[in-house]
Protein backbone atom coordinates (compact mmCIF):
# COMPACT_ATOMS: atom_id res chain seq x y z
CA UNK A 1 0.00 0.00 0.00
CA UNK A 2 1.25 3.46 -0.89
CA UNK A 3 1.25 5.79 2.12
CA UNK A 4 2.49 9.16 3.24
CA UNK A 5 4.06 8.97 6.68
CA UNK A 6 5.21 11.69 9.04
CA UNK A 7 7.23 11.11 12.19
CA UNK A 8 7.75 13.85 14.79
CA UNK A 9 10.89 13.98 16.93
CA UNK A 10 12.13 16.31 19.63
CA UNK A 11 15.63 16.76 18.25
CA UNK A 12 17.39 17.04 14.92
CA UNK A 13 19.70 14.14 15.80
CA UNK A 14 16.75 11.83 16.48
CA UNK A 15 15.06 12.90 13.24
CA UNK A 16 18.17 12.03 11.23
CA UNK A 17 18.47 8.71 13.12
CA UNK A 18 14.86 8.11 12.09
CA UNK A 19 15.62 9.01 8.48
CA UNK A 20 18.56 6.59 8.52
CA UNK A 21 16.38 3.81 9.96
CA UNK A 22 13.73 4.44 7.31
CA UNK A 23 16.26 3.99 4.53
CA UNK A 24 17.66 0.93 6.35
CA UNK A 25 14.17 -0.59 6.23
CA UNK A 26 14.22 0.08 2.50
CA UNK A 27 17.63 -1.60 2.09
CA UNK A 28 16.34 -4.59 4.07
CA UNK A 29 13.35 -4.78 1.71
CA UNK A 30 10.69 -4.30 4.43
CA UNK A 31 9.36 -1.12 2.82
CA UNK A 32 10.15 0.87 -0.33
CA UNK A 33 10.87 4.53 0.21
CA UNK A 34 10.05 6.80 -2.74
CA UNK A 35 11.04 10.10 -1.15
CA UNK A 36 11.79 11.74 2.18
CA UNK A 37 12.27 15.19 3.65
CA UNK A 38 13.19 16.37 7.11
CA UNK A 39 11.56 19.59 8.29
CA UNK A 40 11.74 21.63 11.46
CA UNK A 41 9.81 24.51 12.94
CA UNK A 42 12.06 27.46 13.49
CA UNK A 43 11.91 30.08 16.23
CA UNK A 44 9.56 32.23 14.15
CA UNK A 45 7.06 29.39 13.88
CA UNK A 46 7.81 28.58 10.23
CA UNK A 47 8.21 25.08 8.90
CA UNK A 48 11.50 24.79 7.02
CA UNK A 49 12.68 21.92 4.85
CA UNK A 50 16.25 20.84 5.62
CA UNK A 51 18.26 20.53 2.42
CA UNK A 52 21.63 19.06 1.65
CA UNK A 53 22.77 22.24 -0.04
CA UNK A 54 25.73 23.87 1.63
CA UNK A 55 24.52 27.36 0.93
CA UNK A 56 21.38 28.30 2.91
CA UNK A 57 20.47 31.24 0.64
CA UNK A 58 19.86 28.68 -2.10
CA UNK A 59 16.81 27.61 -0.17
CA UNK A 60 13.70 28.55 -2.10
CA UNK A 61 10.09 28.79 -1.14
CA UNK A 62 7.45 26.11 -1.43
CA UNK A 63 3.96 27.56 -1.72
CA UNK A 64 1.13 25.44 -0.44
CA UNK A 65 3.23 22.60 0.65
CA UNK A 66 4.84 21.08 3.60
CA UNK A 67 2.62 22.40 6.38
CA UNK A 68 -0.53 21.45 4.54
CA UNK A 69 0.71 17.93 3.89
CA UNK A 70 1.78 17.48 7.50
CA UNK A 71 -1.62 18.73 8.66
CA UNK A 72 -3.42 16.35 6.34
CA UNK A 73 -1.34 13.47 7.67
CA UNK A 74 -2.15 14.29 11.25
CA UNK A 75 -5.88 14.52 10.65
CA UNK A 76 -8.35 17.12 11.88
CA UNK A 77 -7.67 16.83 15.62
CA UNK A 78 -4.71 18.32 17.43
CA UNK A 79 -3.20 21.44 18.83
CA UNK A 80 -3.41 24.71 16.90
CA UNK A 81 0.11 25.60 15.93
CA UNK A 82 0.97 28.66 13.91
CA UNK A 83 -2.20 28.85 11.86
CA UNK A 84 -1.64 31.14 8.90
CA UNK A 85 1.59 32.56 10.27
CA UNK A 86 3.05 29.10 10.47
CA UNK A 87 2.59 28.40 6.79
CA UNK A 88 5.42 26.57 5.12
CA UNK A 89 8.15 28.82 3.90
CA UNK A 90 11.09 26.60 3.36
CA UNK A 91 13.59 25.11 1.05
CA UNK A 92 12.83 23.14 -2.05
CA UNK A 93 15.16 20.71 -3.67
CA UNK A 94 14.02 18.07 -6.07
CA UNK A 95 12.07 18.25 -9.29
CA UNK A 96 12.99 21.77 -10.22
CA UNK A 97 15.72 23.60 -8.38
CA UNK A 98 15.10 27.28 -8.09
CA UNK A 99 11.33 26.77 -8.08
CA UNK A 100 9.68 29.64 -6.28
CA UNK A 101 5.95 29.54 -5.80
CA UNK A 102 3.82 32.58 -5.17
CA UNK A 103 2.20 32.25 -1.81
CA UNK A 104 -1.00 34.17 -2.03
CA UNK A 105 -3.15 34.92 0.95
CA UNK A 106 -5.81 32.33 0.17
CA UNK A 107 -3.20 29.59 -0.07
CA UNK A 108 -1.62 30.61 3.20
CA UNK A 109 -5.00 30.58 4.91
CA UNK A 110 -5.85 27.17 3.49
CA UNK A 111 -2.53 25.83 4.57
CA UNK A 112 -2.90 27.30 8.03
CA UNK A 113 -6.25 25.60 8.38
CA UNK A 114 -4.72 22.25 7.51
CA UNK A 115 -1.74 22.87 9.66
CA UNK A 116 -3.77 23.39 12.81
CA UNK A 117 -4.09 19.62 12.95
CA UNK A 118 -0.40 19.10 13.25
CA UNK A 119 1.73 19.51 16.30
CA UNK A 120 5.32 20.35 15.44
CA UNK A 121 6.41 22.77 18.10
CA UNK A 122 9.21 25.30 17.62
CA UNK A 123 12.47 23.35 17.79
CA UNK A 124 10.83 20.04 16.89
CA UNK A 125 11.62 18.09 13.73
CA UNK A 126 9.62 15.79 11.49
CA UNK A 127 10.30 13.32 8.72
CA UNK A 128 7.88 13.23 5.79
CA UNK A 129 8.05 10.11 3.67
CA UNK A 130 6.32 8.63 0.66
CA UNK A 131 6.48 4.85 1.10
CA UNK A 132 5.13 1.56 -0.19
CA UNK A 133 4.55 -0.82 2.71
CA UNK A 134 2.79 -4.18 2.88
CA UNK A 135 2.42 -3.82 6.66
CA UNK A 136 2.89 -0.91 9.03
CA UNK A 137 4.74 -2.65 11.88
CA UNK A 138 8.33 -2.15 10.64
CA UNK A 139 8.12 1.65 10.46
CA UNK A 140 5.95 1.97 13.59
CA UNK A 141 8.27 -0.19 15.69
CA UNK A 142 11.54 1.41 14.63
CA UNK A 143 10.27 4.96 14.93
CA UNK A 144 8.72 4.35 18.35
CA UNK A 145 12.01 2.89 19.53
CA UNK A 146 13.64 6.21 18.56
CA UNK A 147 10.98 8.22 20.37
CA UNK A 148 9.13 9.34 17.23
CA UNK A 149 5.36 9.78 16.85
CA UNK A 150 4.09 8.28 13.59
CA UNK A 151 1.19 9.63 11.51
CA UNK A 152 0.12 7.85 8.35
CA UNK A 153 -2.45 8.19 5.57
CA UNK A 154 -2.85 6.49 2.24
CA UNK A 155 -1.70 8.41 -0.79
CA UNK A 156 -5.11 7.94 -2.39
CA UNK A 157 -6.88 9.53 0.60
CA UNK A 158 -4.47 12.48 0.55
CA UNK A 159 -4.94 12.94 -3.19
CA UNK A 160 -8.69 13.06 -2.77
CA UNK A 161 -8.36 16.24 -0.72
CA UNK A 162 -8.69 19.56 -2.49
CA UNK A 163 -5.15 20.76 -1.95
CA UNK A 164 -3.37 17.60 -3.02
CA UNK A 165 -4.26 16.82 -6.62
CA UNK A 166 -1.86 15.30 -9.12
CA UNK A 167 -0.15 18.66 -9.60
CA UNK A 168 0.74 19.08 -5.94
CA UNK A 169 4.55 19.36 -5.82
CA UNK A 170 5.35 16.48 -3.45
CA UNK A 171 8.60 15.84 -5.24
CA UNK A 172 9.79 19.40 -5.15
CA UNK A 173 10.99 18.85 -1.62
CA UNK A 174 11.30 15.10 -1.13
CA UNK A 175 14.68 13.55 -1.73
CA UNK A 176 14.64 10.13 -3.43
CA UNK A 177 17.61 8.96 -1.29
CA UNK A 178 18.98 9.40 2.21
CA UNK A 179 20.52 12.82 2.72
CA UNK A 180 22.09 14.94 5.41
CA UNK A 181 22.07 18.70 5.42
CA UNK A 182 25.51 19.92 4.43
CA UNK A 183 26.52 23.29 5.66
CA UNK A 184 24.25 24.23 8.47
CA UNK A 185 23.09 22.55 11.65
CA UNK A 186 19.90 22.81 13.62
CA UNK A 187 19.49 22.98 17.38
Amino acid sequence: MRNFVSVVFDTSAKAYDGLHELWNLDREGDVTVHGTAVVHRDGLGRLVVDTDQTDPPLATAVGVGVGALLGALAGPAGAAVGAGGGAAIGAAVGGTAGFVADINRAEVESEGRFETGFDVLPGQHAIIADVSEDWTTPIDERMRRLGGTVHRRSRDAIRDEALFGPDYPYYQYMYPYEYNPGGYLYP
Binding site: D55, T96, A97, G98, S132, Y177
Partner: protein
Protein backbone atom coordinates in the same frame (compact mmCIF):
# COMPACT_ATOMS: atom_id res chain seq x y z
CA UNK B 1 14.57 -28.90 -6.84
CA UNK B 2 16.84 -27.81 -9.71
CA UNK B 3 13.99 -25.76 -11.16
CA UNK B 4 13.46 -24.03 -7.81
CA UNK B 5 17.14 -23.14 -7.68
CA UNK B 6 17.06 -21.68 -11.19
CA UNK B 7 14.01 -19.61 -10.24
CA UNK B 8 15.69 -18.39 -7.07
CA UNK B 9 18.76 -17.40 -9.06
CA UNK B 10 16.69 -15.52 -11.61
CA UNK B 11 14.76 -13.71 -8.86
CA UNK B 12 18.03 -12.64 -7.28
CA UNK B 13 19.27 -11.42 -10.66
CA UNK B 14 16.16 -9.25 -11.13
CA UNK B 15 16.45 -7.88 -7.58
CA UNK B 16 20.13 -7.02 -8.11
CA UNK B 17 19.43 -5.42 -11.49
CA UNK B 18 16.64 -3.30 -10.00
CA UNK B 19 18.82 -2.23 -7.06
CA UNK B 20 21.63 -1.32 -9.43
CA UNK B 21 19.36 0.72 -11.69
CA UNK B 22 17.83 2.49 -8.69
CA UNK B 23 21.21 3.40 -7.21
CA UNK B 24 22.50 4.68 -10.57
CA UNK B 25 19.42 6.87 -11.01
CA UNK B 26 19.58 8.19 -7.44
CA UNK B 27 23.23 9.13 -8.03
CA UNK B 28 22.26 10.88 -11.25
CA UNK B 29 19.65 12.97 -9.43
CA UNK B 30 22.16 13.84 -6.71
CA UNK B 31 24.81 14.84 -9.24
CA UNK B 32 22.49 17.06 -11.27
CA UNK B 33 20.91 18.76 -8.25
CA UNK B 34 24.33 19.56 -6.80
CA UNK B 35 25.59 20.81 -10.15
CA UNK B 36 22.53 23.00 -10.56
CA UNK B 37 22.83 24.36 -7.02
CA UNK B 38 26.35 25.62 -7.77
CA UNK B 39 24.98 27.90 -10.48
CA UNK B 40 27.74 30.20 -11.74
CA UNK B 41 30.57 28.08 -10.36
CA UNK B 42 29.55 24.90 -12.21
CA UNK B 43 32.37 23.46 -14.30
CA UNK B 44 32.05 21.77 -17.69
CA UNK B 45 33.59 18.62 -16.14
CA UNK B 46 30.66 18.42 -13.68
CA UNK B 47 28.13 18.64 -16.49
CA UNK B 48 30.07 15.98 -18.42
CA UNK B 49 29.87 13.84 -15.28
CA UNK B 50 26.09 14.26 -15.23
CA UNK B 51 25.82 13.26 -18.91
CA UNK B 52 27.93 10.16 -18.24
CA UNK B 53 25.82 9.22 -15.21
CA UNK B 54 22.60 9.61 -17.21
CA UNK B 55 23.97 7.24 -19.85
CA UNK B 56 25.05 4.70 -17.20
CA UNK B 57 21.70 4.89 -15.42
CA UNK B 58 19.83 4.31 -18.70
CA UNK B 59 22.06 1.31 -19.53
CA UNK B 60 21.60 -0.11 -16.06
CA UNK B 61 17.82 0.27 -16.30
CA UNK B 62 17.81 -1.40 -19.75
CA UNK B 63 19.66 -4.33 -18.15
CA UNK B 64 16.97 -4.53 -15.48
CA UNK B 65 14.30 -4.63 -18.22
CA UNK B 66 16.23 -7.48 -19.82
CA UNK B 67 16.57 -9.39 -16.53
CA UNK B 68 12.86 -9.25 -15.84
CA UNK B 69 10.74 -12.01 -17.39
CA UNK B 70 7.27 -11.16 -18.62
CA UNK B 71 5.45 -9.21 -21.28
CA UNK B 72 5.44 -5.47 -21.91
CA UNK B 73 2.23 -5.37 -19.84
CA UNK B 74 4.11 -6.50 -16.76
CA UNK B 75 3.91 -3.69 -14.15
CA UNK B 76 7.59 -3.79 -13.21
CA UNK B 77 8.68 -3.81 -16.83
CA UNK B 78 6.33 -0.95 -17.71
CA UNK B 79 7.77 1.24 -14.95
CA UNK B 80 11.32 0.42 -15.99
CA UNK B 81 10.64 1.20 -19.64
CA UNK B 82 9.12 4.54 -18.67
CA UNK B 83 12.27 5.26 -16.65
CA UNK B 84 14.51 4.44 -19.62
CA UNK B 85 12.69 7.04 -21.75
CA UNK B 86 13.14 9.68 -19.05
CA UNK B 87 16.80 8.83 -18.52
CA UNK B 88 17.42 9.21 -22.25
CA UNK B 89 15.70 12.60 -22.04
CA UNK B 90 17.83 13.54 -19.01
CA UNK B 91 20.96 12.72 -20.98
CA UNK B 92 19.73 14.81 -23.91
CA UNK B 93 18.92 17.80 -21.69
CA UNK B 94 22.23 17.54 -19.84
CA UNK B 95 24.01 17.49 -23.20
CA UNK B 96 22.07 20.60 -24.26
CA UNK B 97 23.14 22.36 -21.07
CA UNK B 98 26.77 21.48 -21.84
CA UNK B 99 26.53 23.43 -25.09
CA UNK B 100 24.78 26.46 -23.62
CA UNK B 101 25.31 29.13 -21.02
CA UNK B 102 23.40 31.52 -18.76
CA UNK B 103 19.65 31.01 -18.51
CA UNK B 104 19.63 28.41 -21.29
CA UNK B 105 22.15 26.36 -19.31
CA UNK B 106 20.00 26.41 -16.17
CA UNK B 107 16.80 25.70 -18.08
CA UNK B 108 18.28 22.64 -19.79
CA UNK B 109 19.86 21.31 -16.60
CA UNK B 110 16.62 21.95 -14.70
CA UNK B 111 14.81 19.80 -17.29
CA UNK B 112 17.45 17.08 -16.85
CA UNK B 113 16.84 17.20 -13.08
CA UNK B 114 13.08 16.85 -13.50
CA UNK B 115 13.62 13.88 -15.82
CA UNK B 116 16.02 12.30 -13.34
CA UNK B 117 13.57 12.78 -10.44
CA UNK B 118 10.76 11.27 -12.42
CA UNK B 119 12.88 8.28 -13.46
CA UNK B 120 13.90 7.58 -9.83
CA UNK B 121 10.20 7.58 -9.03
CA UNK B 122 9.44 5.07 -11.79
CA UNK B 123 12.24 2.78 -10.67
CA UNK B 124 11.32 2.89 -6.99
CA UNK B 125 7.75 2.03 -7.99
CA UNK B 126 9.11 -0.91 -10.00
CA UNK B 127 11.12 -2.00 -6.93
CA UNK B 128 8.01 -1.75 -4.72
CA UNK B 129 5.95 -3.79 -7.21
CA UNK B 130 8.66 -6.45 -7.43
CA UNK B 131 8.99 -6.66 -3.63
CA UNK B 132 5.23 -6.96 -3.15
CA UNK B 133 5.09 -9.70 -5.75
CA UNK B 134 7.94 -11.60 -4.06
CA UNK B 135 6.35 -11.18 -0.62
CA UNK B 136 3.06 -12.59 -1.91
CA UNK B 137 4.88 -15.48 -3.60
CA UNK B 138 6.78 -16.43 -0.46
CA UNK B 139 3.95 -15.85 2.02
CA UNK B 140 3.05 -18.98 4.03
CA UNK B 141 0.15 -20.89 2.48
CA UNK B 142 -2.85 -21.37 4.80
CA UNK B 143 -3.69 -25.00 5.48
CA UNK B 144 -7.29 -26.03 4.85
CA UNK B 145 -8.89 -27.16 8.12
Amino acid sequence: MAKAKVLEKSEAAVRDALDHARTATQELHQTISRTLAKRASTSKAEVEGAIRKAKEAAESTRSAVGARQGTAQDEVKKQLMAAVGKLDAAEKHAAESFKSSGDAFHTALGKALADARSSVQDISEAVAAHRSEQAAKHAPVKQAS
